[in-house]
Amino acid sequence: MRIYEYFLILKSGLFDKKYYLNQYEDVKQHAKNALYHYIKNGWREGRNPSALFDTNLYLTHNPDVKRKGINPLVHYIRYGKKEGRFAYPDNSIPNKCYTTNQNIIPSWIIEEMKNIGREIDPSIYPNNNRLSQYLYYSYPVHTKPGEIYQKIVDQCKYQHYTHCFALPWLKRGGADFVALQHIEFATKQPNSKVLVVLTEPEDSPWVSRVPNSVDIIDLSKYIWELPNEDFLKVITRLLLQVQIDVLHIINSKYFWDAVKFYGLAIRNKTKIFASLYCDDFDLDGQPVGFARDYLPSCYMHLNTVFTDNTYFSELLHNIYGFKKSLFKVLYSPVNNVKMHQQNPSNNKSILWAGRLDRQKRPDLLLNIAKKIPEATFYIYGEPLLESQKEIIEELISLKNVKMKGAFNGVETLPFDTHTLFLYTSQWDGIPTIIISAALSGIPIVASSVGGIEEVIKNDRGFLINDIEDIDAYVKSIKTIFNEQEKALIKAQNAQKYVKNNHTQLSFFHHLENTPYYIKNHIDSLS
């Protein structure tokens, strides 16, 4: 269901819950939400949302709406009312053109059709059968997309941006951290003008980390006001009208859609880049996400796809046959963490941090914690999904678990005061948190998924190959407790690796050498 439809109808006063439930006994008995029922099924079944709107009548008299298969009440609220289309059977028909009746085609047109039929092309002759087929097409004057487009353009300080970053939001997260690195790089280029657009209606606490010189436009507040197809046209028009040298998409579905449908037009003036880090997985264990949904239909429009790990780019190459040159691996930079003391101690404290959601597998954490009651588990992160509620409640109930709540970036995590860092994710690229942990020098036990192995090889930490094997985690953790000096050597190796490979200098250097990503490339290569 489109949420905007729900609230649009709710606000209009044209849905009468009491009327709807009284009229339709089956809905009353089975449906949990009457308005939801009307939006999902009711209008297609010809049911009326209130005494003020006749669904079937509107569709009959507005065949253009019927042809498009859109919710007639939504159409009426957004356009039909303004256009004078009638909604209620008792209303007199204000304009006879809105019917399929043959009389509505002006008689002088019918006369002309007869003449052309006789003199030129018999197929156009308006016999009764043919006339009954004619639908009225109302040329729409829909101003809302234009109004919203203008509001967005008014927020652009410049007519020309060197870089536009399309992000869903700027939360406290790994992808957001890397997005900020890209933004920082762009702002450091000579004469750069940087625009950040946010497209999902969520909080963006890390907007505060964006440099002041960057224009930020929150597009998400307009999403509810337009159907998706119109919103897509608005953002595509923005990309076409405002000169944007580089468009970089990092997890914004709407801009992926713009490239999918209008990529050829957009790339006339704009070089398009995207960042893809890993697959997500659905409940059936099938890979899903932007790479799967968009890359096969968009790759031809993209200059470069940035990944943060070699594993994912090779996976996509192997599955789809994308050229290897499409991808560029950029190891994410981390440089500000609390450094581990690296002194052996009897302390048995385990640090776990991340979103408490399906991906990060708090259920594995729970089972590990149950098996090592002598250790204390410090859990940083906030639960995101209702489905993990029971697991989290059970975690809270364990005596050896301390729930520490949300954390504001990896730099705030106490790597310095714990014995080891535990990571139980089911899928990933190379998570920033793993790089941070490695940089801090804390021994690491991690599930071997995605690109984690690129940082935590066996001489740099403890990798769990079968990620469901609780005993393997337990064994590794106990090894660290019992053989701390050996564990610290591995941690030092990991630290050294990260210091060499995950620096901002190296990250920026790779960006500088990415064709078309900065202005001197655009000038010299185009």
Binding site: I109, Y137, G146, E147, R237, G263, A265
Partner: protein, 245 residues
């Protein structure tokens, strides 16, 4: 060819219409003769863009006084460029743009010249009504820019005038030429919609010629469906620099 005084040049573009080209010329001839009977002098400019052999033969066989027809063969593969080429070859003060597979009401030329005089030189006229036939049967009334509900903002998502049917002063087309699109290469499409936006942003007024109608043939695989398949979108236009003005 009579170049002494031409009131209106009729620019008709063809590419692969085959027999439909003949039918369309019959319809335009009907309009042209009606106009001539009202004292309006006319000429044809037929633009044959990447024409196929069959359509070309049909056009060359068409029974007409050849002294009144300029035939241009071009290889633009683009409707906008073809019209621009045709316009450059005209000698009339006024231009009418016709598509090679549509029909037009008999009075379309005569009434438009009348209303161009009434409304003024910065007017661009369209048939009052559109009737589509073939793959889809529908009809509708175009939008007159002087009507209250007209809004530039609406042009972001919809074109208000079907096809490129228009009649205006030649100077209008010279000042605002069509923009080549070539949707398969550029992703830009809808050059007529774009031309409407560009002309409006330059101060021209799109109006309707009362009691006239264009008949729009909907064919499978038409240019519009190719544009839709290729993700065509209107090229950048000055109109969208500021929709508030």
């Amino acid at each position: 060819m009579h170049k002494s005084k031409i009131d209106i040049s009729l620019v008709v573009t063809f590419h692969s219409e085959k027999l439909l080209a003949h039918l369309t010329l019959n319809s335009i001839e009907r309009c042209r003769k009606y106009a001539e009977s009202h004292g309006i002098s006319t000429e044809y400019v037929w633009v044959l863009d990447n024409i196929d052999q069959e359509t070309k033969e049909i056009l060359l066989d068409y029974p007409i006084d050849s002294s009144n027809v300029t035939i241009l063969e071009v290889n633009h593969g683009d409707a906008g460029d073809s019209r621009n080429s045709g316009i450059a070859a005209t000698s009339g003060e006024i231009i009418g743009i016709f598509d090679g597979d549509d029909y037009y009401s008999e009075n379309w030329i005569e009434r438009s010249i009348h209303y161009l005089n009434v409304y003024g030189d910065n007017t661009i006229l369209h048939p009052e009504y559109m009737v589509s036939f073939g793959e889809e049967y529908s009809f509708g009334r175009h939008i007159d820019q002087t009507e209250n509900f007209f809004s530039k903002k609406g042009l972001l998502t919809h074109n208000f005038w079907t096809s490129a049917w228009s009649i205006a002063k030649k100077d209008t087309y010279l000042r605002i030429p069509y923009v080549a699109t070539n949707v398969k290469k550029t992703g830009y499409g809808y050059e007529d919609w774009h031309w409407n936006c560009e002309t409006i942003s330059s101060g021209f007024i799109h109006r309707l010629t009362p009691k006239t109608v264009g008949f729009y043939r909907r064919r499978p695989g038409s240019r519009l469906s190719i544009e839709a398949e290729n993700g065509g979108i209107m090229a950048p236009s000055k109109l969208f620099e500021n929709l508030n003005e």
